[in-house]
């Protein structure tokens, strides 16, 4: 089979990606930082650093700790605010064919609605509702860890949102399926998961947590089996597309998520270790499809057979 026969494009509720690989929010900056290392046209999309209504400074450093096969982060949504993003970052990103996903987080539902409204008029391609960031004192994950919370925020934001609305779920829940269903029922166009898992690492010599914020969110290879399980669970109960992430650093990893039901994947922590991780994942998926004579990614999405 020749290469041109392989169709990598996916359609996530109207968000049309040239390939199913997206830089995950908070790990891919605003894209610029990676332009030295790769051609940004080669990845399906970029979910930008989580935006808030107003500029935020984020948490005190240290904001990162290494753990076995993972990292804890407590950046705490440092970002220039949604207006500055629209003015200063969209024009740069628009020079590329990669799709722009605006990841938003807020203290109140009104914050989210206001951002969704402003971004609906901006030149972006989708909005990702971050109701799962464990690193801020107020809001955010508080909306994401109950069916009532997720239902209310999704429903309200949906009213202001004229772009495909992706709701990003937290893994820090007893039953991620019911949260996903609540988001779907309330109008989510797609689900993305997982955000980071709450964790702590201790400096035993100082007898203090390593992170200034004491706790942080775990990501990286360590979380992959948890993420794959959750993506599988969610994909088997919702009808809307699912975007999978959590520890992906190769095409093989991405294929696991796609077999489990993800229509697209996001690559996070791997970008830190290897700035070309996203394009490497694209190539890896392509090679896998070639090896098994598939002509489209849809031939693997959700094709896991249980034992």
């Amino acid at each position: 089979m020749t290469e041109k026969n392989i169709d990598l494009s996916v359609d996530i509720a109207g968000l049309k990606l040239e390939n199913p690989v997206i830089g995950a929010s908070g790990t891919f900056g605003f894209g610029r930082e990676f332009a030295d290392y790769m051609d940004l046209n080669r990845i399906g999309g970029i979910s930008v650093k989580g935006l808030t209504l107003e500029k935020r400074q984020g948490n005190k450093p240290p904001r990162i700790a290494e753990t076995p096969a993972g990292i804890l982060n407590s950046v705490g949504l440092q970002n220039p605010g949604v207006k500055a993003f629209i003015e200063n970052e969209i024009p740069f990103l628009r020079k590329f064919s990669t799709k722009i996903i605006a990841n938003i987080a807020g203290n109140t539902i009104e914050d989210y609605c206001s951002m969704a409204e402003q971004l609906s008029d901006a030149d972006i391609d989708a909005i990702e509702l971050n109701v799962s960031c464990p690193n801020v004192k107020k809001g955010c994950v508080a909306f994401g860890n109950s069916t009532a919370g997720i239902s209310e925020i999704t429903g309200k934001v949906k009213k202001y949102c004229k772009k495909p609305l992706i709701v990003k779920l937290t893994p820090n829940v007893t039953d991620v399926k019911e949260i996903a269903v609540a988001a779907e029922d309330a109008g989510a166009d797609a689900i993305s998961l997982i955000n980071t898992i709450l964790g702590m690492a201790i400096d035993i010599h100082r007898k203090r947590p390593i992170l200034a914020n004491n706790v942080g969110g775990l990501s990286g290879p360590a979380v992959k089996p948890i993420a794959v399980r959750m993506v599988y669970e969610v994909a088997s109960v919702v009808k809307i597309p699912v975007i999978g992430m959590g520890g992906i650093s190769s095409g093989e990893d991405a294929v696991e998520f796609m077999l489990a039901g993800a229509s697209a994947v996001m690559v996070g922590t791997a970008n830190f270790i290897n700035p070309t991780a996203c394009v490497d994942v694209v190539e890896g998926i392509k090679n896998y499809l070639k090896m098994y004579n598939h002509s489209s990614v849809y031939e693997i999405i959700g094709k896991l057979q249980l034992n």
Binding site: E33, P61, I64, N73, V75
Partner: protein, 261 residues
Amino acid sequence: MSRVLNERIESIEKIAKSIYRMTVKSEYISANARPGQFANVKCSEGINALLRRPISICDVDKDRGTFDIVFQIKGIGTEYLSQKRVGSEVDLIGPLGSPFHISEEYKRIAVVGGGIGIFPLLYLLKEMKEADKSAFLGFRSSDYVVMTEEFESASDRLSISTDDGSMGYKGIITDLLAEDIADRGFDIIYTCGPMPMIRKVKDMAQKAGIKCQVSLEQRMGCGIGACLVCACKTGKPDNWEYSHVCKDGPVFWSDEVVLDD
């Protein structure tokens, strides 16, 4: 511009208690690195020591196309790095970060380094060929004193202190700087090392009205400005914001940064 590189290790040598010097063949780094910049090094393969570790470029030999790093074993990353062998490859990204400001206007300069903070200063001294150079290096004890000959020949005068007096002046290196600062009237002071030392040098420079550059450390994720973990305060104490050591730094003008706690 920085690149992801796989470069050959030309030599690796233990030069003091837990301190190693590694020479790496790299046309790209040796041609492009400026003093104060660093490389972000994958210290082991696979998921061992997952993140890269930032290590300063300590020396460059443009003719041979090599550069040197010197590092102290602190944890698993540097431990793995110390076990690498000559002839194998090391995976690194560089050169990264903002370099020290070098100018012909700086006729009399001082570098003040403490512990592992001394390493970027060697390359700086070597690159400032015309200036009159005073080097102040502080160490915990004589066990950790390294590279004095090279600092000696790269500078016009070298002062050394150890906390326990096992070599050179007994006490902190800023005491020696204090003595010289009035006498010589440096045009600029460059400093890198532990935070208390940096804070002191910044204060002394400010009081004496001398320009000062500081090189900061912070735990890093990406090293390229994308993850925002390596925050440091820039601006004024009452009106600061978080900048990022890997991209806006590691070198800052001392009056640009807020060095609290």
